[in-house]
Amino acid sequence: MKGRVAWILIGLFVAILGSASILGMAKDTLVVAVMAPPRTMNPHGSDADCNLQIMANIFDGLLQRDADGNLLPALATSWERVDALTWRFHLRQGVKFHNGNDFTWEDVKFSLERLKEPYPVSEFLAFGGAIAEVRPVDGDPWTIDIVTTKPVPWFVQNLHQIFIMDKESTETRSIGEIGEYPIGTGPYKFVEWVKGSYLKLEANEDYWGGPPPIKYVVFKPITESSTRVAALISGEVDLIQDVPVELFDMVKSSPNAEIITRPSRRSIWLGLRNSPGFPGSDVRVRKAIYMAINEDEIIEKVMMGHAFPCSQIPDPPTVGYDASIERLPYDPEEAKRLLAEAGYPDGFTIKLTGPNDRYVQDEQIAQAVATQLAKVGIRVELDIKPKAIFFPEIDQHGLDFYLIGWFDGSYDFGRSFTKLLHTVDPERGYGGLNGASYSDPVLDKLLEASSSIVDPTLRADALRLLNRVAMQEKIAVIPLHYQEDTYALYKPSNVQFQPRPDGWIVCKDISFGE
């Protein structure tokens, strides 16, 4: 009796093992493995890229960006800046939400005003706070003016990540429901979300821009990078985001996988406090730290070659980028000499804070920096933590030395500087992300002068000047490198995919070849 049971069990086991064939997903479904799970289906509830990219498939903003980063019409067909505070938009007619409601200017007004509501509604409080009024022009419901509280030169640059919600269904549902069942105007409709497992979307046949080529999309969060790669190679997923650098060669040599890379817009750099009395208040110390870091070695050994040295925070397409700024050379001897000159012949101790789950190899980069600085006498105490704890610490401006990455979705270095390096001034909205309370009155004045310039060319010149002074004279930050955005495709699925500068996966631009 026992023997027979054993045989049955063995048979079952073999049958299960034998079903190693991939669960045949008909080729109308694209399975994408992403690094971080979506947090919520409320499009205003999170300003993290991992959430916004999903929302971009279900919702539309007034504007959108294409795969080259150009700003294009979406729910607004055209726009212009009327004066320093007013922006005018012509709205698209005949658009319907997924529940059948018509899109009207009232949905725009509702959505923008919703941004002002604090947790649990919106994380875009600052952007919402900048909006004074939304009103139709001369009674025409398809032309609206958005008035800001103060001049915001980069206002439209942000609109591709501000999504428009349906006023009626949002007002009648609880925040819990809104966070679980999204209703937008976008190319894909929500089907189901099994948290922690997958999110399934279906093509919106009535999309105003025409139905997207792929019928079903499934997003699977796989946080463990090596598992993500394994899923791709076995064919369980068709496309993965963020190929870990240590597995890059292995994926490249695999016959089933194809790698696509793109220089990222994101620059990785180190912020350093310059308060009086602190070692970083002496420019020579800042220079010494810069020159003690062997960025080439970091790129070669930590990033495995998948990074590009940078000399400034903005990337080439951003307004304010200056190609003439160069990196300081790697020179540990000179670094030691500068430290001695500044009064630190025996170096000093400093705490380096950084995240471990946000940027490519973030923890490893910090460790490498610590090792390199030790060689010139600077003793680094590492303080690595998850981004959920790291970013609030940045918001409190109490750090001394930190690793962070940045790319500005509005392509404007003025906005970046306002958030990152302007002297902290919460009342006026300056320095929100200035983690070490960096403060330089000269740079502040340059920035403030630039925000009132309306002519884009003159403004660009002013921003480039600010950039040059900040990087060459003041060493406001210590730049490291630009990351590389990496994706991998499952070859047999024949996915046609072009990476975007913002790193988002927008499925309507993806199709199956053949």
């Binding site: 790669v229 597995l247 292995m250 060689k375």
Partner: protein, 289 residues
């Protein structure tokens, strides 16, 4: 009596093997600062150029990195020795503290009985039914940045129960014995009774519990460090090494996981072999036929 135990010990291959494993790693851990080729936590000696090297017998291996290096250039052998140090430190500390405190509580509860006994045992039972792993994880996850002392404390908080229970059981049994009643009748002080009669009898079972517990604590510390809530990142730990190394198993660099893993298994296996032997020594009825 003593020579009989020694005889049994020497005849039992598993006990000898176990203690050998344990001894090798213990010596290595204690003398790590002197015998390790490199102090992997001193950034001045590290070189990124030497990162991710395989063990010396494989192609690409390079002296003095006998077992290869990790992604920051740390020598694996050295890191293992220092990691063992942490494991032993935490395990010994926990056993010492939990053992002493737990035994004391169990002794007092058994001896004085009554409300003290009831309350203590209820408390102990409740604490014990919640997994040690879970409570340690929660405590360390909530109070971040406590370092090694906090890890020890988090484990002690639930670990003392097994010692209390054992001591209590032993004490209750002895309490009924004639010679204890006699001693009481004569007017011997409580203290004296406890020390001269109860404790000596309780020591063998407590030793067995401690031996088994040692292995469990080592595994628990490794698990906590693996999850990132144990030993801080700049202090060595076998669990943390395995956690950092597992990314690389797909890239074919298996030694980053297998080497520290083997060291960890060796410690626990060694202790368990000894514990098994000890248990059989102490409880003759269980001896193999």
């Amino acid at each position: 009596m003593r020579s009989r135990t020694l005889n049994h010990y020497l005849r039992d291959p598993s006990a000898v093997l176990g203690s050998f494993l344990l001894l090798v790693l213990l010596v290595g851990a204690v003398f790590a600062p002197w015998i390790a080729p490199q102090n992997p936590y001193d950034p001045k000696v590290l070189s990124l150029q030497d990162s991710l090297l395989p063990p010396i017998w494989m192609e690409g291996g390079k002296a003095p990195y006998l077992l290869g290096t990790d992604d920051q250039g740390r020598d694996i052998l050295s890191t293992i020795l220092y990691g063992c140090r942490t494991s032993f430190l935490v395990a010994f500390s926990v056993i010492l503290i939990a053992g002493t405190a737990g035994s004391l509580i169990g002794l007092l509860a058994a001896y004085y009985g009554g409300v003290l006994d009831a309350v203590t045992m209820r408390l102990a039972d409740t604490m014990f039914s919640f997994s040690t792993t879970l409570i340690a994880m929660l405590l360390l996850g909530i109070f971040k940045g406590g370092g090694i002392p906090l890890v020890i404390l988090a484990i002690v908080i639930t670990d003392w129960v097994r010692y209390a229970r054992t001591m209590r059981g032993s004490a209750l049994a002895v309490k009924q014995e004639d010679y204890v009643q006699a001693a009481r009748a004569v007017g011997a002080s409580n203290f004296r009774i406890m020390f001269r009669h109860i404790i000596p009898n309780a020591i063998p079972p407590i030793l067995v519990v401690a031996a088994v517990d040692f292995g469990a604590v080592v595994m628990l510390e490794a698990t906590l460090s693996f999850l990132g809530v144990g030993v801080p990142i700049n202090k060595p730990s076998l669990g943390m090494m395995i956690s950092q190394g597992k990314r690389f198993i797909y890239a074919g660099k298996w030694w980053l996981v297998v080497s520290p893993g083997s060291a960890l298994i060796s410690i626990v296996l060694g202790v368990n072999l000894l514990a098994d032997w000890l248990r059989e020594e102490i409880n003759p009825r269980l001896r193999k036929r």
